[in-house]
């Protein structure tokens, strides 16, 4: 047993070089990281080897394509930063902001395959970049126009300190992206790929919570598969956001089954 354990450790040690160059398969990476967590010497060795690999990387430097920096700066301007660790006190729950840190990280983590140019889930962020920086391309122009009146409010929500994003799948088809700010009592809603309704019907947004059920307005017609952004104000703690199909001129109460129900 002991020999096996030792040989496992030796094996893990020899993996250090491959690991520092990301030259390990996913299972090897996981196994090695478990080992790293309990081997301070290994962690130090990896840190020092990474100084060397960083040099290898820096040696490959080449000029950055035109426009890339501007796109990154624009995206950063609407991307919330992770808070620093605070070991002296529990995370504050004021406004419910940090209560869903996990959701925030999952949804705004710019996961591996996400790009601003293509991801439906990033629709709100794309629009935010466009609205705030005036760099819209022609396919966005219509949404921008629709959003013009409320663009200021939208920018306020998207750039709020406590803004966070969540997404939901719409029954019947489509994906909704919601960026909300409890400090601003508002949210920005966009959707992609909503099923087209007959002309006599329209999508209506609702805020439902301890404060009652309030209509948050009808969604505009989609454009190139994208709906919104629309701003819904009057957000209160404990609300959910619901989406229903209603007569085109709206209802006082949600009558049909919820096509989307998201905790805010």
């Amino acid at each position: 047993m002991k020999l096996t354990r030792q040989s496992q450790i030796r094996d893990a040690h020899t993996l250090a070089g491959a690991y520092a160059m990301d030259a390990v398969s996913a299972p090897d990476r996981e196994r090695f990281e478990q080992h790293l967590a309990e081997c301070e010497d290994c962690a130090q060795e990896i840190a020092s080897l990474r100084e060397a690999t960083a040099m290898l990387g820096a040696a490959a430097a080449e000029p950055v394509p035109a426009g890339l920096k501007e796109r990154i700066m624009a995206a950063a301007a609407v991307t919330r930063q992770r808070p620093p660790a605070d070991e002296t006190e529990p995370v504050p729950l004021a406004h419910g902001t940090w209560a869903r840190t996990g959701i925030w990280f999952r949804s705004l983590a710019w996961p591996g395959r996400l790009t601003l140019a293509t991801a439906g889930a990033a629709a709100a962020a794309v629009l935010a970049v466009a609205v705030v920086f005036g760099v819209a391309n022609s396919s966005m122009q219509q949404q921008i126009d629709q959003a013009q009146a409320s663009s200021q409010q939208i920018a306020v929500v998207l750039t709020a300190q406590d803004a966070h994003m969540t997404t939901g799948t719409v029954a019947g088809g489509g994906t909704a992206t919601i960026v909300m700010s409890h400090s601003r009592h508002a949210l920005v809603f966009t959707a992609q790929g909503l099923h087209a309704l007959p002309g006599s019907r329209g999508y209506e947004l609702w805020l439902i919570g301890p404060g009652g059920t309030r209509s948050a307005g009808m969604l505009p017609a989609d454009s190139h598969g994208m709906t919104g952004p629309v701003i819904a104000s009057g957000l209160r703690p404990g609300d959910h956001l619901a989406l229903t199909a209603e007569p085109a001129d709206g209802s006082a109460h949600p009558d049909t089954p919820m096509m989307l129900d998201v905790d805010l």
């Binding site: 160059m21 020092s48 080897l49 100084e51 040099m55 990154i72 620093p84 710019w110």
Partner: protein, 200 residues
């Protein structure tokens, strides 16, 4: 990030700034953590070309390389507060993020076939790496240090780092047992580290 009280984080010899361009990158990243966009601009100016360069070397496709560069830099923006100068240089932190993202991108199954086709058409021998790695003084050092490795060490490093291969893939390319490749990789990096003068 900052330790309070008497418990001093165990301080391994702080690696010397890895590059001349790395001057005060750590300081700029601390400002980025406070949301300073001008500092983020400065960080990009300093390290953006290295990030883009290494990402493109691994991925090769320019459009995807731009996407991944953007992801990496946004991760730097988001996670600046998580950077811990006690655990390595800022350059190493950013370049580690960049290389890993690039490698993860090319290893994702759906991209693999596409990439195989491109890479098959474009063998990159060591010479090409050397060629790309010349000019500045700093590159000259890297070139010289790579040149001081044994052939198997050098090939293992360049195939793994610049092409994003796993040690298993490197082993089959070189026709060498995996155990040997693992050992060579570690020996090679230790030698590179010592040659480049980045302290342990």
């Amino acid at each position: 990030m900052t330790a309070t009280g008497s418990q001093e984080p165990r301080n391994r010899a702080r690696p010397a700034p890895a590059t001349a361009a790395g001057t005060d990158l750590a300081g700029q990243i601390a400002l980025v953590a406070r949301g300073e966009t001008t500092a983020f601009d400065a960080v990009f100016e300093q390290i953006g070309p290295s990030v883009f360069g290494v990402v493109k070397r691994v991925i090769r496709d320019p459009a995807q390389s731009e996407e991944v560069t953007q992801e990496v830099m946004l991760e730097v923006w988001r996670s600046a507060s998580k950077f811990d100068a006690g655990r390595g240089s800022a350059t190493a932190w950013v370049m580690t993020l960049a290389h890993r993202r690039a490698v993860d991108r090319v290893r994702s199954v759906q991209k693999e076939a596409e990439r195989e086709r491109r890479v098959a058409a474009a063998e990159i021998p060591f010479d090409e790496v050397l060629e790309a790695v010349e000019s500045s003084l700093e590159r000259e050092r890297v070139r010289r240090c790579l040149g001081s490795l044994t052939e198997v060490q050098r090939e293992s490093v360049t195939l793994a780092y610049y092409r994003g291969y796993t040690y298993g893939q490197v082993a089959s390319l070189l026709g060498v047992p995996t155990g040997t490749v693992k050992t060579r990789m570690r020996d090679a990096l230790i030698r590179m580290r010592d040659c480049l003068g980045v302290a342990e």
